[in-house]
């Protein structure tokens, strides 16, 4: 995807990423973390804002910083970086709320043709998975880098 992205920083393991969203409400530090789950090679994608006053991380906050496309493209860039380093990884992602999950779906839908060149993309239904389809409301998403 040839989209504008924020500069990314990461630790050496490429499991934690930080970038700074710069929009209408100012600068907001964003953190992305790929955390191992109870399943082998399966990582959960966590994403939220860092409160510079308290040092806490909040994945429920709605920043409304006017740069959601650039933020989404940057999160996708972390996915490329993470799966470059961990090519066998499966990555699970869901929103902190239904509406946030819907936002993720809209983002994936918008770029699905590009994303599917490099990743297998699945959507989670109530009791099953299917290959990602547009206009289906999923509970969560799972991606695997095409090797």
């Amino acid at each position: 995807m040839h989209l504008d992205k924020y500069e990314l920083k990461s630790g050496e393991q490429l499991t934690v990423f930080e970038f700074v969203s710069n929009g209408i409400n100012g600068k907001i530090i964003k953190l992305v973390q790929y955390t191992p789950t109870n399943y082998k090679d399966l990582y959960n994608l966590g994403f939220g804002d860092k409160n510079i006053d308290t040092g806490t991380i909040d994945d429920n906050v709605i920043s409304n910083n006017g740069d959601s496309e650039k933020v989404l493209a940057t999160v996708v860039a972390t996915l490329y970086a993470f799966t470059d380093k961990h090519p066998e990884a499966l990555v699970y992602a869901t929103g902190s709320s239904k509406s946030r999950t819907r936002l993720y779906r809209m983002g994936i839908t918008k770029y699905i043709d590009d994303v599917q060149k490099d990743f297998e993309v699945f959507g989670e239904l109530e009791n099953d998975w299917e290959s990602f389809k547009k206009d289906v409301e999923y509970l969560a998403f799972l991606v695997k880098r095409k090797l």
Partner: protein, 51 residues
């Protein structure tokens, strides 16, 4: 090719910042992780293609 050109390619440029290794053994989004484990327990995993 300048820096901006490189940045537009699929492979992102990542600046290594060792201070972020501080978070490696910490779970920053524990509720999300718990939710993921719970949902995966229920539905299992999809069949993914092998290399």
């Amino acid at each position: 090719m300048n820096i901006k050109d490189i940045n537009t390619k699929t492979k992102p440029i990542v600046i290594i910042d060792k201070s972020l290794d501080f978070f490696n053994d910490k779970v920053l989004f524990p509720e999300k992780l718990a939710k993921a484990n719970e949902m995966l327990k229920k539905v299992g995993l999809p069949k993914v293609a092998k290399a």
